[in-house]
Symmetry: C2
Subunit: 329 residues, 2 copies
Amino acid sequence: MARRVREHLDATLPRVWGDLLEVAASAREQLGQARTLIEPDQWQAALGGEVERLTENGQLEHATERLLSKLERTLFDSPKTGLVSLVGAGPGDPELLTLKALRRVQAADAVVHDRLVSAEVLAFASPHAERYDVGKSAHGGGSTQRDIERLLIDLACQGKRVVRLKGGDPFVFGRGGEEALALARAGIPFEVVPGVSAALAAPAAAGIPVTHRGLSSSVTIATGHDTSAHDWHALAQTSGTLVFMMAVEHLDTICAQLIGHGRPTSEPAAIVQWATTSKQHIVLASLGGIATAAREAGIEAPAVLVVGPTAALSGRLAPEGTHAEAVAV
Amino acid sequence: MARRVREHLDATLPRVWGDLLEVAASAREQLGQARTLIEPDQWQAALGGEVERLTENGQLEHATERLLSKLERTLFDSPKTGLVSLVGAGPGDPELLTLKALRRVQAADAVVHDRLVSAEVLAFASPHAERYDVGKSAHGGGSTQRDIERLLIDLACQGKRVVRLKGGDPFVFGRGGEEALALARAGIPFEVVPGVSAALAAPAAAGIPVTHRGLSSSVTIATGHDTSAHDWHALAQTSGTLVFMMAVEHLDTICAQLIGHGRPTSEPAAIVQWATTSKQHIVLASLGGIATAAREAGIEAPAVLVVGPTAALSGRLAPEGTHAEAVAV
C-alpha cells in the first residue's frame, strides 16, 4: 500500500511528496483495521483536491483530518458497500434450511461456504453467484480463519451481497463470532441468520430428546475437537445431557476424561453420524463401550456424541433402520 | 369399552357370551396402551368370523391370538392411521421456519400448537386444517400434557396428518420427548422435525456467540422455569456460556443461585426478550445487576438469559436499536 501511494505521489505530486506521505501514513494508522479495505484508486482520489491544498499550505493536521473523513465516507457511506449475512445452513438435510437462509442464498452475489454445506443447499444460489469453498478440515487444510475474514471484507467492499454459509448455526462452534467481530471492526454491515444446529438436531434425529422430564433438565454442548480447552471436571459434573460435536477423532479421550472425572461407565451414550441425512447412522452403547462400538461400526466424521440417560430413548424413538446392528446399550 | 362389547355380545352371540368376553379381555390386556385406539366398531368386526368360530370350538387361546392379530392389523396397517409430525416452529421470526416445517404445516389436516407459535406461521396451514391451541401458560392454564398426547393420538387414529407445532425445537424443553414416547407406545407413526431453538437463536440475535475462541468452548442450556430441578453447584461450575430459557419469572432466584455457588457478580449477562422478532429487546448488565436492570427496562416473558463473557460481545455485535437505553455492562 505504502509503495503504491509513494509511486503515485512520485509521479504526480513531487512538490509535496514528503508532507503528503506523512499525512497519508497518519490517516492510515488512525483507520486501524479498516485501512485494509481501501483500494489504491480510493487513496488516490482522497489525496487530491482539498487534502493536497491543505498539505501544500503546511496545514498537515487539518489535511490528515480531511483525508480521514474522505476515506471514512468512502468506506462506510458508499453505496458500493455490501452486506455480509452469516447464515446457518442447518445440520445436513437441505430441507432443514430456514426460509430466511434460502432467501439470502438465492439473493447472494457471492457465497463463501464450508466443506460440510451440502451441494443441494449450494444449488439454491444463482448460477451467476461467485462461490468460494473455504472448507477447513480438522487437519488444517483449506483457508485460514484470517483468509476467510479478509475474503468476506473484500467481497463486501466490492458492494456485493455476501452469504457466509456455515454448517449448522454460525454462532455454535462456527467461528461466526470471530467473523462478526472482524466485520464490525471493518465497519462492514452484517447480520446473523441462525440455523438448526447439529448439536440439537443430531440427537433429535436419533430419537434423543436432550431434555426430558425426570431425566434431564439441561443440555451442555461442547466441542470434541479442541479437547484440551475443556474443564473436564466441570463437564463431567453437569447433571444434564452432554453433546460433543466433531466427536470422532478424540472419542477415546472424551469418554476416558468423562469416566475419569466421575461419570459412570454404564451411562447410556449414542454416536450419530451424518445426522438428518439419508446416510444417518446411529450407534448406541454405554459410555465405557461407545468408542469401541463406534470403531466396529465404522463411524467416521462428521458425528456427534450424546451422553446421558436420554440417549437410551434412541432405542425407542429413532426412525427405523438407522441403528447399527449388533450393538446394545 | 367392556360394557359395549358386552352389549354387542348380549344382542348377537348369546351362546358364546362368556368365552368371547374372556377372549376379548385377554386381548385387550395384551394390547397395552394401544387398546385405547380401538373403536367399538373395530372390536365388533374383529370379534366376528374366525375368532367367533374358534371360541365356539373352545379354542380360546387360539381365538385370542387371532383376535390380537386382527386388532393389530387394524391399528398399524390400516390406511386410516395417520402420521404425527413433531415440528419446531423456530424462535419467533416466521422466516426462521425450516423448509421441511413449512411443507408439513401446509400439508396438515390438523395443527396442534402452543401459545408462542406466531400467527404468521399458523397462516401457512390450509384454511381447511383443524386448529387446536393447546397453549400452556406458566401458571398451568390450557391443556394438560396428557390431554395433548390423547388429542394427537385421537387425530392420528382418524387417519389425519397431524402437525404438532412447538415454539423453537420440539426436543429442547418442548416436552416433545414425552409426546414421542406416548405416540410410540400407542403405535402411531411419528417423526421429529427439528427447529431453530431460541436457546441458541436468542443469543445469536443479540450478537452473542455462545461459543467463541478464547472466551467459551461450551454452552449449557437450562430451563429457568423449574429452578428446583437444577444442580446449581454443577451449573455454576460450568466453564462455558449459560443460557436460561423462560428466565423472567425466576430471574432473581437464578442470579442469586449462580452467585451463591461462585459465579462473580461482575460477570456479563444479557436478557433477550422476543428474540428474532420486531419486538426484540436486549438488556445488558452484570450478573449481579441484570435482574434489577431487566425490571427497570420492563422485560417480561418470553425472554432468555445469557450469562458469561460472550454476553459482553452483544454491545458490539447486536443489531442497532435493539438494546435498552441507559443500561451498561
